[in-house]
Symmetry: C2
Subunit: 411 residues, 2 copies
């Protein structure tokens, strides 16, 4: 093949927010009407003051038709065809901050302040929509269900089973547990077991961080406890500095807890948090796992349930959704792990590569050996997610970026 | 001088726990008696089950005389003389987990579960003791007062003034705010201003992390809410992986908040959390500070109050207490910043270099240019803390490690 098979490990899809009403169980529609109105008013009010929102809107101007690929199946195919993308992994949050499902059933799945019954209703409204959307193009779309584990592990397991039965191959879980039990708690074991048994891939996606409340307070004018907003200088800088750490945190807990020892086929993807932190995190965990003078006081009990080094579980069980991978990460691919990196577009988010995906791919990968590009740009994802190559390869032969574009003139 | 002037940026001192009773304001002594008894019983009970505690005790066997340098002034001088150390920065927590001050006035200064009035009483009992201990040997000892900012910033400012008036040149503050306001909150401004005005150096010291509760629950047999303990597999591995991150977190908040822009002479030391994370953290913050495609949606408002790059504030205002610096950090000194690293022994903690300090120094620094060793092993600390060289240099000429020991045979 003289074109690459491209799979985006990071796509977003969801209908306009009012559409979720029809996907909700009927008993939640009245509450939806109340909260939806308040939420739209808040977003509109924020729009005038919020620089970040203004930037997003500026970017979106004139792109209505392209952005409608967030929910319009045929339009989405046209868009990703033009981007050279054959297959996609689909997360919630079609248009940033504009069409999240209701009741906190969104990208962050925050437990703080959530009403468990309502949050599940919001999650399920999206899961039903996503199941339909994937059903329209099953070979090209790997859809994720929203699953929160905090309001009963049995309920979460049941939703995993529903996802499997309804054409969704993975789940998105919250990467911040806030005041709930962290993921090394043994109560979650049935959830890991169910995901392994059913081949359901667990995902964590960048977005939430612990400055969220203050960030939100500063932006939207209301502190979590209702007190007047306080301007917190630097909140956004802190947010972008820490956001990848919060995203990678579940890995640290899952690896040390021995979850990948007990569930060796369990798969986890960590998406849109860059991959720049991977080498240092693995080195740190392996160092802490090793024996040396400064760790002597820890004894050995804390690591005897692990039969491999932390980095070995990472290499085997974890993949990184390297959305919009910058050149520098491609250059560090040997340290990060060529086999663990999966390129993505983040379409249709404004920080993504669309509508200049082809240009940005070449910027990232030019001059790199073809087998390595092939793995990072689509091959790793095809294998990890089990995309049907018999169906996707003919498509890639038509729409994929030409291998020749990536060759350096001087090479 | 053919010997190095050595200053340890990380020493611990404090009396046996029952001694704090005499340093408490009288109205807290009855409560001390109650809590002290319960605490000793808990430690004793834990001693039988707790591998980490058993390892510490094994290490301490036969070292009683050496460990008494935690509170015995003359013995401490003999010990550090033999180690080649001329001056020390002194934190609380003389013997690990054995002689903390009462009521949570300890190394972690955790706000969760603390009684503000009692925690302050515990802090002040230690501050009085430390002031006396420093007074016995003021040229060699730079003592730190315990100051928690959460129970009224005015109270904290008053304690900073007390410290300055009583011979203590710095303060130790909690690096975890838990459910309290983080350090970018404007309410803390008077505290930063007071420290800058009085030349009081703020310290954060490794110890606490967010797995603490679960860690504690697993070790001591009581969950925070009183429910039966749950074995949390991997808790200690998670703890040692994350502990340096929690320690460095106040820097992220202070730098982005512009605190070093508004208080350009404010000094902060971050101690015993390794320095291996420094290059990546600075690179990340500078990257987030810069302009590029993926940051476009953030606008520019979040960084316009900073006139320098985050790394530049770090270089100017922050020093790292690189306790027991391993060889690898010395090798990375150019990336970490030779001017920011201050070697330390962590005496008398079991993970420290005592009683083989001289051997471990040489392991760390051998073959490195002398001017660079001189800076990292004592010169940086001498300047940062303002040690009186007229007094310390003659001592170093007698007890300091010989420069010749550090020269590689082959060089």
């Amino acid at each position: 093949m003289d074109r690459y098979l491209v799979i985006s490990s990071d796509g977003h899809a969801g209908p306009r927010p009012e559409v979720y009403r029809d996907y909700l169980d009927p008993q939640f529609r009245e509450e939806f009407d109340i909260q939806h109105k308040a939420r739209m008013a808040m977003l509109e009010a924020a729009g005038e003051r919020l620089e970040m929102r203004a930037e997003s809107q500026k970017w979106a101007e004139g792109k209505d038709s392209g952005l409608s690929g967030a929910w319009d199946s045929e339009r989405r195919n046209e868009i990703i065809d033009a981007d050279g993308v054959a297959g996609e992994v689909l997360f919630v949050d079609g248009l940033t901050e504009q069409n999240s499902p209701p009741f906190g059933g969104d990208l962050a799945l925050m437990p703080m302040g959530a009403n468990p019954e309502l949050q599940w209703a919001g999650c399920r409204s999206h899961n039903r929509w996503m199941s339909e959307f994937v059903g329209l193009e099953p070979a090209r779309r790997f859809g994720l269900a929203l699953v929160t584990p905090f309001w009963g592990v049995d309920v979460a397991v049941a939703e995993v089973e529903w996802a499997k039965a309804n054409g969704l191959g993975g789940i998105l879980m919250p990467h911040m547990w806030m005041d709930q039990d962290p993921y090394h708690h043994p109560k979650y074991e049935p959830l890991w077991a169910a995901c392994e048994d059913l081949g359901i891939i667990i995902h964590f996606h960048s977005g939430a961080a612990a400055t969220q409340d203050y960030f939100g307070a500063a932006l939207f004018g209301a502190a979590p406890d209702g007190s007047p907003p306080v301007e917190m200088p630097g909140a956004l800088g802190i947010y972008v500095t820490e956001v990848a750490w919060w995203l990678s945190r579940p890995l640290v807990f899952m690896i040390w807890a021995g979850i990948f020892e007990r569930y060796p086929k369990l798969k986890v993807a960590v998406t849109e948090g860059t991959s720049i932190w991977v080498p240092e995190l693995l080195e740190l965990m392996d160092h802490r796992f090793g024996e040396h003078h400064f760790s002597a006081k820890l004894g050995t009990g804390y690591r005897k349930h692990l039969k491999m080094k932390p980095s070995e579980y990472f290499r085997r069980n974890v993949r990184i959704g390297s959305s919009c991978m910058p050149r520098r990460e491609a250059e560090l691919r040997h340290e990060i792990g060529i086999g663990n990196m999966m390129w993505g577009t983040d379409y249709p988010h404004p920080e993504g590569t669309w509508p200049i995906t082809r240009k940005m791919m070449v910027e990232t990968f030019h001059g790199i050996p073809e087998a390595e590009i092939e793995a990072m740009i689509g091959g790793n994802a095809a294998e990890f997610y089990g995309f049907d190559l018999a169906k996707l390869n003919p498509l890639a032969e038509r729409i994929g970026p030409e291998c020749a574009w990536f060759r350096d003139e001087t090479a």
